[in-house]
Structures are given as C-alpha cells and as structure tokens.
C-alpha cells in the first residue's frame, strides 16, 4: 500500500503560507546535508542548528496553512501531510533553495541571501492580520537574524580572504544571482495575500533587501553580477530538476509506510 498524494487549496493566503513554509523546509534539507561533512565540527553543529530552526519554522507555517485551508472551506491537512504527501508541482518553495548545496561558499551565500530576505519578511509578518502567523514571525525573526549574521560573516571572510576562497565566493555569487530575482517577482498570490493583509508583497521588500545584500557583497570585495531576464518559477510549482530528488528522499518513508511513527 502506498499513500496517495494530496491536493492543496489554491486559495492565495494558503499558497502564500506554503511559499514560506516550503522555502524553509527545503532549505533545511539542504543545510542538513552538511551534517557530518562541514569543514570543522563547530560549523557542522551551527549548520545543523540552523536546519532545525528552519524545520521548526516550516512546521509552524505549514500547520497554519493547513488550518487556513479548512477555515476557507477546503480540506484540513496537517504539517506532516503537507510535507510528505504533496507532489513536486504542489511545492511552492523558491527554486533558489532547492539548488544543490555546492561548496561551503555556495551554502553560505545562499544562506545569506535567504536569511536576509526571511528576516525582512518575518519583521513584516509580525503585524500580519493573521495573529497565529504574527506569533510565528515574532519567534522566527530572531532566528533569521542570527542566520543572516552567521552567513554574512562567512561571505565577507571568504570573499575578502585568500585567492582560492575569493574565487569560490565569486563563483557562488555568479551562479546563484540569477535565482535571486524570483524572490521579488510579483504575482497574483502576492497581491491577494497583501490585500488580505496576511503579509507584505515580496516585491515590496526588494529595495531594502538589495541595499543590505549589496553592502555585505561590497565588504566582501565582490560586485553584484548584472541582472538577467531569466526567472526561476519554484514559487508557482515549476521547479528545477533538483527538487524531485530531495522529495524522493524526504517522502520515501511516509509514502512506503503511511502514518509510520517511532
């Protein structure tokens, strides 16, 4: 027997929450890959801690998304059903977070980009019309701030470090930059969720994010690559080839042994 996939409500507020929850969940999977493989044991623990922070945020937000589904007349799904029983096309994470973890420079640059975005997002969500989400944001914003500081520190150390580390950080920036644009790409989910005062339009966070990002990139003796027309589309469910592998590993147990616990 295998567990059938679930379909999730297209309601904009639900979709908005899935974007946040899934982005945290998938980035956590990528960070957890470092467990036992980080360059030093202290960083190993730090990355695992951050993965666990993100899992905690994903759990809270997915739980709330499932409740909202039910409140809007849809079916109720709990956090586990949402994480383990959705197909790839129903995941709403940014493509940026599903890209392979790469080397330490890629991991740190991505963490910096995502954490500084999430920090801004959680700050705004503290005044969400959804009091549950506002509560989650109040706790998460402190975690995001730490993740951002930790990653920013490494971006500067490596970017402004040895020839080797600078070359790797530059490669990381060039490789990830095209995927950053998706974060701030406006669409109807963004518009409708903002109209319902669930949270800000992500597009409205672009300027502040960019100013902060650019100042750290400058301190790391790097320069932002030119913007390109390419747009990734993970937020609307069209993913890169990498997400399927993550889900296969993440969902395998629940799909093979439905409801399995230990």
């Amino acid at each position: 027997m295998t567990q059938a996939s679930i379909a999730v409500s297209p309601d904009a507020s639900v979709q908005y929450l899935l974007r946040i929850g899934d982005t945290c969940l998938i980035l956590a999977q990528r960070l957890a890959e470092w467990c036992g493989h980080a360059p030093v044991v202290e960083e190993d623990i730090a990355l695992s801690n951050m993965a666990l922070d993100l899992i905690g945020q994903a759990r809270a937000v997915l739980t709330r998304a499932g409740q909202l589904e039910a409140e809007r007349g849809g079916e109720h799904h709990d956090e586990d059903q949402l994480a383990f029983l959705r197909d790839e096309r129903d995941f709403r994470n940014l493509t940026l977070v599903e890209l392979p973890r790469g080397d330490f420079a890629v991991t740190m640059l991505r963490n910096f980009a995502v954490a500084s975005f999430l920090e801004l997002l959680w700050q705004r969500l503290e005044s969400s019309s959804d009091s549950e989400l506002a509560g989650i944001a109040g706790k998460a914003v402190k975690e995001a701030r730490y993740h951002r500081e930790h990653a920013a520190d490494w971006v500067v150390r490596l970017g402004d470090g040895t020839t080797e580390s600078a070359a790797r950080m530059k490669a990381a920036l060039d490789g990830l930059w095209p995927y950053v644009a998706e974060i701030f790409e406006a669409d109807t989910v963004d518009e409708l969720a903002a109209a319902a005062r669930i949270g800000p339009r992500w597009a409205d966070l672009r300027d502040e994010w960019r100013a902060r990002f650019e100042s750290v990139i400058g301190a790391a003796s790097l320069t932002l690559p030119a913007d390109r027309p390419f747009r990734s589309t993970g937020k609307s469910g069209r993913h890169s080839e990498h997400l399927g592998y993550i889900l296969a590993e993440m969902q395998h147990l629940q799909r093979s042994f439905p409801g399995g616990v230990w």
Partner: protein, 99 residues
C-alpha cells in the same frame, strides 16, 4: 594545546557561559575559531543551543596561564587542615537556604 598552533589550524578558545543574570560566567568547554567574533558565534551554537545562557565570554586558550600540576601539593594541600579558614562555625538563619 601547543603554544604555537599550526598556521593551518584555527586557535583554540575557552568558552564561559553565564546561565542567568546574577550568576558568574562558568567555564563550559572550548572550541576552534579563526577570531573572537567567530568564537562568540560558534560558542552560541555549540554551547548555548539548549537555552543554557544569557551571556558568553571567550578567551584565547593560549592567553590563560595555569598553575603547574606539579605544584599541586605545595599550593593546595596545606589548606586541608585549616578548618578555621572556613566560615563553618556560624549559625545561619533558616531563611538563608542557598549558602
């Protein structure tokens, strides 16, 4: 803990955590880090992840001067039989329970 660490290895730092306001910072372990800000950051992850702390100190291990274990007898043993140096002969009021 050698005096001159290899150039390819981060120096060792001793970590002190204050568990709550009013208590002393207590030594809780050590870690490797490239510099002080990194040591503070990593100490947060390695030693305070279960809400152990409200404040962290780090100090380079090679900055600590320790007493020689060989001097232990000369330094500390003579205190053993000088009970009059301990304030154990006072009756404390019952309301002071944590002395």
């Amino acid at each position: 803990m050698s005096a001159a660490p290899s150039p390819n290895e981060w120096p060792l730092w001793e970590v002190f955590v204050r568990s709550k306001a009013g208590l002393d910072h207590k030594h809780c372990g050590s870690l490797h880090a490239a510099d002080a800000p990194m040591a503070i950051q990593l100490a947060r992850d390695v030693y305070t992840r279960r809400q152990e702390g409200t404040s962290v100190w780090v100090v380079r291990s090679d900055q600590i001067t320790a007493s020689d274990p060989g001097d232990k007898a000369a330094y500390f043993d003579p205190m053993a039989d000088k009970v009059y140096r301990h304030p154990t002969f006072y009756e404390l009021p019952k309301s002071l329970d944590h002395m």
